[in-house]
């Protein structure tokens, strides 16, 4: 289980008078994410979703607050926690000088996997993602959908227990998007906890058991899509989202 307590992230900035100031990207977020659930983090652009994910994955340090993975913080158990996590970033960030197979090999080596295991795992995941024929291709030659699937394959190489997906279907056509949705559901059935950020409401509605709505760095509400609709008397999560992000102090 992931427990987030009073998490704050401030970035140095300058105001309109060019004086140093701080921009609050994540503002006192407290949250619990259960094992084996698909948890959505929903918010408009600039809401603080990616900053929250970066703190949860140990890429940036919080200004204040704590994150516990099964009761342990990063400071207490950094290596073990990092091995538990898989991250699919919003942007395509492959090593441009390595081919498809080498990108996966590098990831497997970084997580200390043994030679036989990593070779078998790479072949298995490439087949699973329908990329087996592309093993020796340059990553630059892959289509947008193939790159997204390869990002997911890379994040899964070391068998993470928790998978972070930051806007996994952004700029993809509907067919590829549905394929990735099916994949996410399959992973969750296989016991992987999924934390998904998105600004596609229908994506959160379809996939997530619970959703947190974030706006201006603040956590506005957490519930299942159905409970949100029932509580606010709305027909869809999109109506709930507009209601909550438009009138954040109403709850």
């Amino acid at each position: 289980m992931i427990e987030i307590l009073n998490l704050v992230k401030k970035f140095k900035s300058v105001d309109k008078n060019n004086q140093p100031t701080f921009k609050i990207a994540v503002d006192n977020v407290t949250l619990k994410i259960r094992r084996n659930e698909i948890f959505g983090i929903l918010g408009p652009n600039g809401a603080g979703k990616t900053t929250l994910i970066k703190m949860l994955t140990g890429q940036i340090l919080p200004t204040a607050g704590k994150i516990f993975y099964d009761g342990k913080t990063f400071e207490e158990n950094k290596t073990a926690i990092k091995k538990m996590l898989g991250v699919v970033p919003q942007h395509i960030n492959f090593d441009q000088d390595l081919n498809v197979g080498e990108n996966l090999e590098l990831h497997a080596r970084l997580y200390g996997m043994e030679k036989i295991d990593r070779r078998q795992r790479i072949d298995k995941l490439l087949s699973y993602m329908e990329l087996a024929d592309c093993k020796n291709y340059s990553v630059k030659k892959l289509s947008g959908g193939m790159k997204r699937r390869l990002l997911i394959a890379r994040a899964l190489i070391h068998r993470p227990q928790i998978l972070f997906l930051d806007e996994p279907t952004v700029a993809l056509d509907p067919q590829v998007r549905r394929k990735i949705w099916a994949l996410i559901e399959e992973l969750a059935k296989g016991g992987v906890t999924i934390i998904l950020t998105t600004h596609y409401i229908e994506e959160a509605e379809k996939l997530c058991q619970r959703t947190a709505i974030i706006n201006g760095g603040k956590l506005i509400a957490v519930d299942s899509p159905q409970n949100f609709c029932d509580r606010l008397g709305k027909n869809s999560l999109e109506d709930v989202f507009v209601e909550l992000t438009g009138r954040r102090n109403s709850l």
Binding site: T57, G58, Q59, I60, L61, K78, T79, K82, K83, L85, V87, P89, H91, N93, F94, D95, Q96, D97, L98, E102, L106, H107, R109, L110, Y111, G112
Partner: protein, 247 residues
């Protein structure tokens, strides 16, 4: 620091280099051949030195210059990885330590620098230079490339654009290339300039290499200064990497 993690980071640089090894070797032959032709056969014929030919004088200078350039330029690809491709995230998400990452990257730069140094030695032999080879010569070349790899790494972690990275070349590497005893003895410089120049690592690398290639021993004071630069560069680069990951 974990040696297996260092090997992983080095492995990445090695397979990229292996794929381009022929192109790399040919490209590394251009500058030494030009320098040896221009300064050895061209200008060098008219310069008389007490210690021997100008060609023998300039080869260690070219070696020092080359290990500086290769150390620096081999590692600054991490700047593009950090700023443009964002694939440095892959390492910061993984369980490997910053120390292992830095060491692996430095070793990659040292390997390229050493391959290039061997090419220069072979070219110099063809041009008829008298070079005394010893293990200490390679120790100095390694130390020099480590220092400039660290400078390159530090700049890559601190600077945000290609233009700023190019300025490091203009304001740090280029003046050192000409002033640090590579093409002439620092003794000929005015005392204030000489003092400044003798604080710089490339001057000590040039002096050490010149002494070693002429059959002399190691200059311990220069070796100590280079070691101090390498140690300070490692800690500064490590600090810059950790800051970069935490911002």
């Amino acid at each position: 620091m974990n040696l297996r993690d260092v090997a992983t980071v080095f492995w990445r640089d090695w397979i990229v280099l292996k794929r381009r090894l022929t192109k790399f070797i040919f490209s590394r032959m251009v500058a030494p051949l030009l320098c040896l032709t221009a300064f050895g056969w061209g200008i060098g014929r008219n310069i008389q030195l007490d210690s021997g030919s100008y060609l023998d004088f300039i080869v260690p200078g070219i070696m020092a210059l080359n290990s500086m350039n290769l150390g620096f330029h081999s590692i600054i690809t991490v700047h593009a990885e950090r700023v443009y491709h964002k694939n440095l995230e892959e390492y910061s998400l993984s369980p490997i330590s910053a120390e292992s990452f830095l060491t692996g990257k430095i070793l990659g730069a040292v390997l390229k620098s050493l391959i290039s140094s061997v090419i220069i030695i072979l070219c110099a032999e063809i041009f008829g230079a008298n070079i005394f080879l010893s293990p200490n010569l390679f120790l100095v070349l390694i130390l020099n490339s480590i220092i400039f790899a660290e400078i390159g790494f530090y700049a890559a972690m601190k600077l945000s654009s290609y233009e700023e990275m190019a300025q490091v070349n203009t304001y740090i590497l280029l003046p050192m290339s000409f002033l640090c005893g590579t093409f002439f003895k620092t003794a000929t410089l005015p005392s204030a300039v000489r003092f400044l120049v003798e604080c710089l690592p490339l001057t000590h690398a040039s002096q050490l290499l010149r002494n070693l290639t002429s059959g002399g021993g190691i200059l311990f004071e220069s070796l100590l200064i280079l070691t101090a630069y390498a140690a300070a560069g490692f800690f500064l680069s490590l600090h810059a990497l950790k800051n970069c990951q935490e911002d």
